[in-house]
Amino acid sequence: MNKAAAPHTLNFDTGWAYSPAPESTDHVHIEDQYKLFIGGKFVAPKSGKYFDTINPANEKVLARVAQAGAADVDRAVTAARDAYDTDWSKMKPAERGKYIYRIARIIQERAREFAVIESMDGGKPIREARDVDIPLAAAHFFYYAGWADKLDYAFPCRTPQSLGVAGQIIPWNFPLLMAAWKIAPALACGNTVVLKPAETTPLTALKLAEVIEAADLPPGVVNILTGDGSTGAAIVNHEDVNKIAFTGSTNVGRIIQRALAGTDKRYTLELGGKAANIIFADAAIDQAVEGVVNAIFFNQGHVCCAGSRLLVQESVADEVIAKLKERMQTLIVGDPLDKNTDIGAINSAEQLERINAYLDLGLEEGAEMFQCGGKNPDKGYWCQPTLFTNVAQSHRIVREEIFGPVLAIQTFRTLDEAVAKANNTQYGLSGGIWTDKGAKIFSVGAKMRAGVIWANTFNKFDPTSPFGGYKESGVGREGGMHGLSAYLDLH
């Protein structure tokens, strides 16, 4: 937007342009229309309704997918219950584990196809889908497969029991990875599943249904229902569901927690965040700037644990902001399937509208906005990486989750001030610390009220690493040994 504002303008537009490096899509097969995956078969929705899923980078329709209604949810829950009673809960745990290993292996074999579809359906850069989403999804199945026959070792003096049917509702930012986070521990613990992918990103979940079919899982152990919020509500409210696992916004999480009041259903909620990323003056500044870029611009900022607030120590603020602006100019916004792309398409028109409303709001509140002013493609939904400076703790762009590539920068003088600002939020999902002093990492890390602390790194994920928030960022943990208890009765 305002190139002159950057102290050193590096011009990468002339002479340094990258040649297009598009990932091929010819090996990918997407059907024109997808039905619901219930009881081991693809079946037409009783609702008779279908909706389009589009590529947010060019607004072209990729496929039509079924809209599951209440009757379809009921059919899926019944299939999951039958599978639980007749097969899955009776199977030897080691055998259960072997089915899950199979899923991991088939995802690895078909990894490139999954990566391309993930990028096409959701708008994320192919490089991230290829290097992060899909390998981690396979790793998740592989990790939890091994737990299936070892659960007794995880909880001293307890005999873990499966819960029954798990209803799982996942978001659009990491479609296959979130499906893996939900399905893998549920199956390992002996539960059966009804999973609903997000309305805008249903394709990799449907491809996962193909994998589950190919792995020969007993029919009904995993059921996949596409649909909108009403489908999710029908799953939450179904009487024969024993557990709800939800990842999404804090507002919807609140509605779900309220809806489950008075029932015996267990729940885990992975909700919003507004993570503070703190840079101390003694940090390795270049490394920290890279970390900040990864923290907020990874996956277009569509990350619940994104480092969307930067707190930088006053003495290095000018340097950090200048370097950040310089680095932002090198970020390539554009075709998600191009291997050079850093920032892909915003997931949907609706989300773009929400982000743009926050950009307007930031300016209205008196903050200073910085964008590099790159040209957006003609079609599709795009947002240039954005910084806001001169913001106050009370500004809505500092307090509310934007879920886009928008960073609010504040400064601080003392360690206590940094911690106070970092914790001054309803959220508590993640936080970042950049410093060269080990003692400071431990003291600040202990004081930050958040479930994941990244010290001199950010946005790292692993199946063995528990993930989840404090305060209004959710209830429970996913990942690691801690993620098992969400799917087990320990009494």
Binding site: R254, G262, Q426, I453, P466, G480
Partner: protein, 317 residues
């Protein structure tokens, strides 16, 4: 206002039943017994326990607790929403100090609470008897409460080792998960086992570094309020445990809806109450722990009010 309260206080004393008077007498162990005709017993005024002090309710309201024979045992403070909010403020202010106290120190303080309870055992046996518990059962309940405190005192520096983890991530990072207290916890204790139920509910909460606001059992609150005196003489920092008496129906909603409470523990069998608690808890995504029956002490009750924090750091030069 002050005068009225004092006048009320006096009238409670003079109206105190024989049982309460003898309880007061039995508490004055080791003194020569004064002639019954000249010495009137001094009954205790039961008040709230907020921020290490014993205030009356700001509302000036009271309710009457009757003993097993139908006599008035005490006029209890009927705590208000405002009293509860004061207690939350106290618990929040005390939180970081208590959470940051070393596990060893928390263990010693809990052990000290056990010591103090042991020293006052007779007082609690008397209070339990007053409410209709036979002597043997009452003694057993008091000793079980003492042992429960010793049990959790021992856990303070062990649960972290049992339940935390170093996670073998595939990338070049050192990654570990530890437990941290969830924050301020509200506790609605069960109606039975006036002392033991209360101690079993709050001990794991504070053993794990949380601070608490607990509601005494509505019809059986004497022991819980007297337990505040034990806490008060045990180096438990002010605000770490706050104890209210009052109407559960009136206060349950406050305990579950307040935005600065991180978790609620409710011993309850009442389906409609459980539903209200769970609904209100959603205001700020509280952790809700419902216990429908008494359970023996175990470390999982500490874990119920802990958060898992996972920290990553790169490995390399």
């Amino acid at each position: 206002m002050d005068k009225t309260v004092k006048a009320e206080g006096r009238s409670i004393d003079s109206a105190a039943p024989r049982e309460t008077q003898s309880a007061a007498k039995s508490a004055s162990r080791g003194r020569a017994k004064p002639p019954a005709t000249t010495r009137l017993g001094v009954a205790k005024t039961y008040k709230l326990y907020i921020n290490g002090k014993f205030p009356r309710t700001e509302s000036g309201r009271y309710f009457t607790v009757v003993d097993s024979k139908g006599n008035i045992a005490a006029n209890m403070c009927r705590a208000s929403r405002k009293d509860f909010r004061e207690a939350v403020l106290a618990a929040r202010s005390a939180f970081s100090g208590w959470a940051d106290a070393s596990a060893y120190l928390r263990g010693q303080i809990l052990y000290r609470v056990a010591e103090m309870l042991e020293a006052r055992a007779e007082q609690f046996v008397t209070e339990l008897k007053l409410m209709g518990v036979d002597k043997r059962t009452a003694s057993r309940e008091v000793t079980a409460a003492i042992d429960c405190l010793v049990y959790y005192a021992g856990w303070t520096d062990k649960y972290q080792q049992v339940f935390s983890a170093v996670n073998p991530v595939a990338s070049s990072h050192f990654n570990f998960s530890i437990l941290e207290p969830v924050g301020v916890v509200s506790v609605l204790t069960g109606q039975n086992s006036a002392l033991l139920g209360f101690v079993e509910a709050i001990a794991p909460v504070i053993a794990g570094g949380n601070t608490a606001i607990a509601l005494a059992p509505e019809q059986n609150p004497l022991c819980a309020i007297s337990f505040a005196e034990v806490l008060h003489s045990s180096d438990v920092p002010a605000g770490v445990i706050n104890i209210l008496s009052g109407y559960r129906k009136e206060l349950a909603e406050q305990f579950s809806s307040h935005m600065d409470i991180n978790a609620i523990i409710a011993n309850s069998n009442d389906a409609s109450e459980i539903k209200i608690i769970q609904e209100q808890a959603a205001n700020n995504i509280k952790r809700v722990i419902i216990r429908t029956k008494p359970i023996a002490p175990d470390p999982y009750q500490i874990i119920d009010v802990q958060e898992t924090k996972t920290t990553w750091h790169p490995i390399g030069g």
